[in-house]
């Protein structure tokens, strides 16, 4: 018996929405993974399209790698300074 592989399953609903991760399953190959995805995750046509991706083929970064980007205020602008300036102009102070 060959070992089954783990696949991650993504569904995209009809329309403009994005593909979303819905879960995982075990299957021997891509074709079987698509069949099982249809039967396990899409029995009531919850998605219009299905992606299956072997878990081993996914590269991932965890919070240790994403954390530095949490701290970059220069990439945001909450508009507060400008709003305050405009308020002062309006109120003539």
């Amino acid at each position: 018996m060959t070992a089954s592989q783990i696949y991650e399953v993504f569904l995209k609903a009809d329309g403009k929405g994005e593909f979303r991760h819905v879960g995982a399953l075990g299957a021997a190959d891509n074709e079987m993974a698509l069949l099982l995805a249809r039967e396990c995750y899409c029995r009531r046509a919850e998605g219009e399209q299905i992606w299956v991706v072997r878990r081993d083929d996914i590269s991932s970064a965890d919070s240790a790698e994403t954390a530095p980007n949490r701290n970059k205020s220069h990439r945001h602008n909450d508009g507060k300074l400008v709003a305050e300036h405009r308020r002062q102009l309006r109120e003539g102070s």
């Binding site: 018996m1 060959t2 089954s4 819905v22 879960g23 995982a24 399953l25 099982l36 396990c40 029995r43």
Partner: protein, 302 residues
Amino acid sequence: MRAWADLDEFQEFLDDGGMVEADDDMPEEYRHEVFRFIEFHANSELMGGLTERDWIPHSPGLRLKQIFLAKTQDEIGHAHLLYMVAADMGIKTRDEMMSDLLAGKTRFHNVFHYRAETWADQIAIAFLVDAAAFASQRAVFAKCTYGPYKRILRRIVGEEGFHMRHGEEMLLKMASGSQVQRDLFQAALERWWWPAVQLFGPDSPPDDPLLNWYIKSERNEALRHAYVQKYVPLLQGYGFTVPDDGLRQDPDTGEWMMSEIDWAPLKATFSNAGPDSARRLANAVRNHAESAWFRESIGVSA
């Protein structure tokens, strides 16, 4: 991968609404308890699916055959997804969970330790048991702190909702049918009322870790009480008698109060010593053996 220094820090994380993911370095106590809970749920879906399947050939009429086929697919599908979530916790593989279930080493829901004797039993199961399972799963979904389980529960709870509606529709037909049909359902109700009520389990212990970790959002006794409040009037409204001589309504609050529950039947199911446990397990073992050729042909195990 996230890690926590100790259980207190982990508890703080959960109290703040934190969600645990499969690759987190979660405390071993949490990993084991949550794994056991999901494994139990997966086993129950599989054993439930097998009994639904057994009734497909006996379904009266094409529409009900289709419904029971769909229910069987749903339940087996739920088992498939839950075993996947459980296996990802890294305690047992799917194969190990399957062989432990078939060897009688692990548990499944009490209601699958009883024999469904007539078609009316299937209706009682769909109406009473699916509803009890639905209430208890919805309460787990509500706050569930284990992300992969919560996401799968959303799907499961949605599908169980269809089963409940099928159950009540079937009950409506029995209730508005002949006296023979009404008697048939009343007899089934007498077999299934207590197992359904006991599905929620005995009162939760005061320091139940599953409650502290927000796997369960409500105590067993609270869920059971709410269930009784809803289902006693429903059954009476359809003209059936709840098989509890001590059942009474509190004159002040209007709440339904049951007799003292005899927990011995529930405890027997914990050790697979229920009235139908041996036959059900043998059935599952046979099913697993008979489908081995299929798993081999597609190159997958379990």
